[in-house]
Symmetry: C2
Amino acid sequence: MTNRIREFLRTRRDDGPCVVVDLDVVRDNYLTFAKALPDTRVFYAVKANPAYEILELLAKLGSCFDCASLGEIEEVLATGATADRISFGNTIKKERDIEKAYERGVRLFAVDCEAEVDKVARVAPGSKVFCRILADGKDAEWPLSRKFGCEPAMAPRVLEHAHRHGLVAYGVSFHVGSQQRNPQAWDSALESAAWIFREMQDRGITLSMVNLGGGFPTKYLKEIPGVPSYGQAIFASLRKHFGNRIPETIIEPGRGMVGNAGIIETEVVLVSKKSDTDKVRWLYLDIGKFHGLAETMDEAIRYPIRTPRDGDDLEAFIIAGPTCDSVDVLYEKEPYMLPFSVEIGDKLLIEGTGAYTTTYSSQNFNGIPGLKQYVI
Amino acid sequence: MTNRIREFLRTRRDDGPCVVVDLDVVRDNYLTFAKALPDTRVFYAVKANPAYEILELLAKLGSCFDCASLGEIEEVLATGATADRISFGNTIKKERDIEKAYERGVRLFAVDCEAEVDKVARVAPGSKVFCRILADGKDAEWPLSRKFGCEPAMAPRVLEHAHRHGLVAYGVSFHVGSQQRNPQAWDSALESAAWIFREMQDRGITLSMVNLGGGFPTKYLKEIPGVPSYGQAIFASLRKHFGNRIPETIIEPGRGMVGNAGIIETEVVLVSKKSDTDKVRWLYLDIGKFHGLAETMDEAIRYPIRTPRDGDDLEAFIIAGPTCDSVDVLYEKEPYMLPFSVEIGDKLLIEGTGAYTTTYSSQNFNGIPGLKQYVI
């Protein structure tokens, strides 16, 4: 909670739930990444929070951008950032979107199979491609499936295919899993990356870049290691696997860049019991899974929640959202401890909600508008 | 698939995924419900699909409306339907929203605890309230949690509380779980409802209405019983538990009203393997969990999918959406059988997608706009 956000909420006139993002925190986060990984370029993962003000600030600070779609590319270009600072980082792209991105000047694309290379080769000739490989995602709170990337053993063929079709086989990328709490998690993927570099060298093709992906955590309820310890662990692994020939590196923080910059304000709509013998009460908020808090899915992420009654004795509550949808329950398997005295009408603050809240929000589910955002 | 939808898609000029809803099917569904339950009023669950054209058609046909929020109430009123045809059916309401609904003429509210009764009593004096009770939701493909409703044993106290505070204790509601495939599922809840009616009678309060809720299924891949068999089973249970004093009844179909009226058209963006030894290929569409297909969560609902290559030999595919989000996978635990020959660029049709698709869609996740809808 920052003073700027506190002051904004105190004087806010609008009604209804909202998220407030403090640009000063985003700036601090950017500078922390830049300092912890001084030789690494930062590509902000736009999908975490594509607010114009955030993109504009990061563009001014010198950041590059990891874009998931043509829509995001256009949002970044609208801030005045140039196309050479954009990576089209989604391995799943329509050929006509690759073509439009190329027309707008984008020259860096992610691939993970030969069919995707073929699309890029046809409509974005001469571009750089990096091949995403599968990483295991162990120790991540929001683990990855096998959706993105190929087995490391397949990557040299994909990259050679790119080389033969007029593209620049530029490097390797991977993702260790979002909200990754173990700074050592990059090591085994870097070992695979170094193997691919050597294998390509044997084929006469020199790769240049390792894209270290995202995964840098933001602080929710559990303590996390600081960004510098990630920088140190990653640098040590690069040394270990690449020796003196350390490649160009980039990172793609999203959650780590904006997560702790945002706070949601929400209102208690109802507190109730289901029967006289129930031990745990239900607490209903005016937003839930469908209006910003999707990442409570499977109760994976436990946000810190502040109430105006903090300090009173705690009691376990099941917390749910306001929609007529039974899956719109935030914490039930493991109820959440809040002051016993919380009441209908209380305003609660949910911390660490600057990333993946507005964007996950539904457009108008149950007639409730999408989450409103203020960037200050 | 209807001829009208086929013809519409054939001549459509816009690019990108969409859902097309055929109003003729909605009309047929309404008339089928009206015929199968002739003494029951139909309250369409607006949340399933709040398109203006659907609400307007149903208003003309004489339907009433189950609304989850003030937003939905205003959408219904905008079609010209009068407020006496609206139920504010959400048990979780802000007091100021109840007040605004009351100002607009709404006089029927759902409650499931005394705190909610107090709100209605304060700002909507004299209104009718029905108490929602918990039902077990067995046999539903999209089961309910304990989020809505109180234990039946608690309902008489809630209703008596309403009566004492100047409200009309009007009846009981329950929900047997969405996409309920067992027509007998209403029986045990009706037994509880009848008990509450008798208990209230003993307290000198006569209840009038049983709200049978929704749950009526739409056809996906599995066969379902027809609406008439639901009508017969429910009527038999009413007779069994209420004898000659059958109460006024209402139903709240949502999925059953619009599910089979809609078809999504989507494009294959990529087909790939993760390694040379993979047995199952991945197939990526241009929409997924975040742009209309949220109900594939936990692979609960398996939509029928048509391809331009139907008739070719089938092969198992993992199906995923286009976003840079690893949870955006539709069918993986149990892969989906599609023609082996499907290719990048093919247009697929996903049937039974008229309900809970546009509304669940995110606003702009990954820079991909919300699902576009055409109502024809």
